[in-house]
């Protein structure tokens, strides 16, 4: 049986549906992210697990115990908020020890545990500081320590990094992952940042408009998106208007040119669909007769140097596609207006509505 389980969870606010038909089983020690744009219901779902919102219907079970109606202060769940939410009137040590003090643990046990936690977050000497004396990143580490100090069954993180600067964000996310793996704690992580979700999670739940779009590992979500929402929300995507020419043989046609598709086509012959492919799977140059590679030609619209990546936009007639290449010193880049040939493997593209 799963450690944390949400069954048919539904939540309405004033007759508008915020979350519906939410079913998820999370294994002990698993790190699951809820990924989606704002208003997709990811935070509402997290708040139902915390007990701040009650589901309109459905059940939430933690470690086999039905928690659906348990108030938040009886759930034994840890939570980290976007706004840190450290108690400003307490020192860092008192903040971390707060949950243990509430649980009336002996003072020396609290002291020992606080010390452990301070070491865990690499802030061993900050115990007597006040929150306002710490940087945002340090405050969020303390909030993490506070959430973990009383050994909760589940750790919930509600966009914990979105108030931080880009560099700190990258640093702290691997920190969070390290601590989570070290303690083996079951974790739910809410974010709207796809790179964050991809890099940190065991599994991702992509959400949109209150519904689950797809559940899978980062690799599955990125490489095999099952809905057009997932495909376009996670990563960059080129979309070519094509006609299915041979669904069985996995072929479609773009401007009269036949293209091989690596994955099954679930549309009838003659259907007008879109061929999806990621910019980084395209290459400049011909396919040199490889039947498993497709070829397109067109005029370069722009060449955009972005640092590690060079993005080339090519007008292939009726559609513009982006090609991402790694910057290399020797790279000879085409100029705007030049005619180029572009190739991509059949395997890398798929057909969507």
């Amino acid at each position: 049986m799963a450690y944390l389980e949400l069954e048919n969870v539904r939540k309405e606010f004033n007759n508008s549906v915020a979350v519906e038909n939410f079913n998820l089983k999370v294994e002990r020690g698993e790190f699951v992210s809820f990924l989606g744009p704002s208003g997709c219901g990811k935070t509402t779902t997290l708040r139902m697990i915390a007990g701040f919102e009650l589901p309109t219907s459905g059940a939430i079970t933690i470690n086999g115990v039905d928690m659906t109606d348990t108030p938040p202060n009886k759930r034994n769940v840890g939570m980290v908020f976007q706004a840190y939410a450290l108690f400003p009137n307490m020192t860092v040590a008192d903040n971390i020890g707060f949950g243990l003090k509430i649980a009336k643990r002996p003072a020396d046990e609290i002291k020992k545990r606080v010390k452990e936690m301070l070491d865990l977050i690499h802030l061993p000497v900050k115990g007597d500081s006040y929150p306002y004396q710490l940087s945002g990143g340090q405050q969020q580490r303390v909030a993490l320590a506070r959430a973990l100090a009383f050994q909760p069954q589940v750790l919930l993180l509600d966009e914990p990094l979105s108030a931080l600067d880009a560099k700190i964000r990258v640093e702290l996310r691997s920190e969070i992952r390290r601590i989570q793996q070290q303690l083996g704690i079951t974790t739910i992580y809410v974010t709207h940042d796809q790179e964050e979700a991809l890099s940190i999670s065991d599994r991702i739940v992509v959400m949109s408009a209150g519904k689950m779009e797809q559940v899978g590992t980062p690799f599955e979500i990125y490489n095999f998106p099952q809905t057009s929402f997932t495909a376009s929300f996670v990563g960059q995507l080129n979309l070519l208007p094509v006609t299915v020419s041979d669904a069985e043989g996995r072929r479609c046609a773009f401007n009269g040119r036949a293209l091989a598709v690596g994955q099954p086509i679930r549309f009838a012959n003659g259907a007008s669909v879109r061929l999806a492919l990621r910019p980084e799977e395209l290459n400049l140059g011909g396919a040199s007769g490889d039947s498993q590679r497709n070829e397109l030609t067109g005029a370069v619209e722009s060449v955009n140097f972005l640092g590690s990546v060079v993005r080339i936009r090519v007008d292939v007639g009726g559609a513009t596609i982006s090609i991402d290449l790694f910057n290399e010193r020797q790279l000879v880049l085409p100029k705007a207006g030049e005619q180029v040939t572009v190739n991509f493997p059949a395997e890398s593209c798929w057909v969507m509505e």
């Binding site: 915390a50 007990g51 701040f52 108030p71 938040p72 202060n73 009886k74 759930r75 034994n76 769940v77 840890g78 939570m79 908020f81 706004a83 939410a85 450290l86 108690f87 400003p88 009137n89 707060f98 949950g99 509430i102 649980a103 006040y130 306002y132 004396q133 506070r146 959430a147 009383f150």
Partner: protein, 271 residues
């Protein structure tokens, strides 16, 4: 700085003069009870009058009670509005603004008329007459003061709550296992410390100097005493004015000090 028009300096200087000239004049005058000599006699006379002690102590007691009643009335209401009913906050803002614009004299008329008889609403007695005994008249006075000071206290508390993200702090405490009493006394009140202090000091200053309510309810307060003194003695009221002014400065100095001292500027209340 260079290109900024000169008239700004002019206005700034004018404002400063405007504010401090009367003060200097008062100080100068209060020291001249003896012809041609500067002396502190006026201060001595004023402070040794037993009536001064009596009214000053009375007003201080009223001020303390007013502060307690205000805090009990306002903190839970404002906290609750922040936490669960943000939509009633505009209404609260509006209501608590009203004592600013209702003259004290109208307030006291209403209080006297309403509470000098057993108050009936649609024929049912709700409150016994309050102006019959000294004790119950004091209660009426305290409630009157509470209304007068409502804007200051509410605004302090509201600013204090606004500065601390009530909802997230409450949820953070809840998820760590805290119940309501713990949240109120360990999280909310400690973080309202400077806000409450600031509201209390303002209330204090207002109550101690208040004239209208105390006069019409015929209570021996400091404000009416000062007014009376002004009609009879030439120098002493100015000495008391300056003392009161100095007390005010001290009070505001305390606010500033506590606000700074806590090192948490963003949690400061006040207006």
């Amino acid at each position: 700085m260079r290109r900024f028009p000169l008239w700004s300096w002019f206005w700034f200087l004018l404002g400063t003069l405007y504010f401090f000239l009367p003060l200097l004049g008062t100080l100068n005058f209060s020291l001249r009870i003896r012809r041609d000599v500067l002396s502190l006699d006026a201060y001595n006379n004023a402070l040794t009058d037993p009536e001064f002690i009596r009214t000053f102590v009375f007003s201080n007691q009223m001020a303390v009670m007013t502060i307690l009643v205000s805090i009990l009335l306002i903190v839970p209401t404002a906290y609750w509005a922040h936490l669960r009913l943000p939509q009633v906050r505009p209404a609260l803002d509006f209501i608590t603004l009203m004592p600013f614009v209702i003259p004290a004299i109208i307030l006291v008329f209403g209080l006297i008329k309403t509470y000098s008889r057993p108050l009936t609403v649609f024929g049912l007695p709700v409150v016994p007459p309050l102006t019959n005994t000294v004790f119950s008249t004091n209660i009426l006075l305290i409630f009157g003061y509470t209304v007068l000071c409502l804007p200051y206290m509410y605004r302090s508390v509201d600013n204090g709550l606004r500065a601390m993200d009530v909802r997230t702090l409450t949820e953070a405490a809840q998820i760590l296992g805290a119940g309501w009493p713990t949240i109120l006394f360990r999280i909310i009140l400690p973080n309202l410390r400077t806000a409450l202090l600031s509201g209390a000091l303002l209330t204090f200053s207002i109550v101690v100097g208040e004239l209208t309510l105390a006069t019409f309810l015929a209570r021996p307060a400091f404000g009416p005493y000062l007014a009376l003194l002004g009609n009879h003695k030439p120098y002493e009221p100015f000495a008391l004015s300056l003392i009161s002014f100095a007390l005010t400065w001290v009070a505001m100095g305390i606010i500033q000090f506590v606000t700074r001292g806590s090192g948490q500027g963003q949690l400061a209340g006040g207006h």
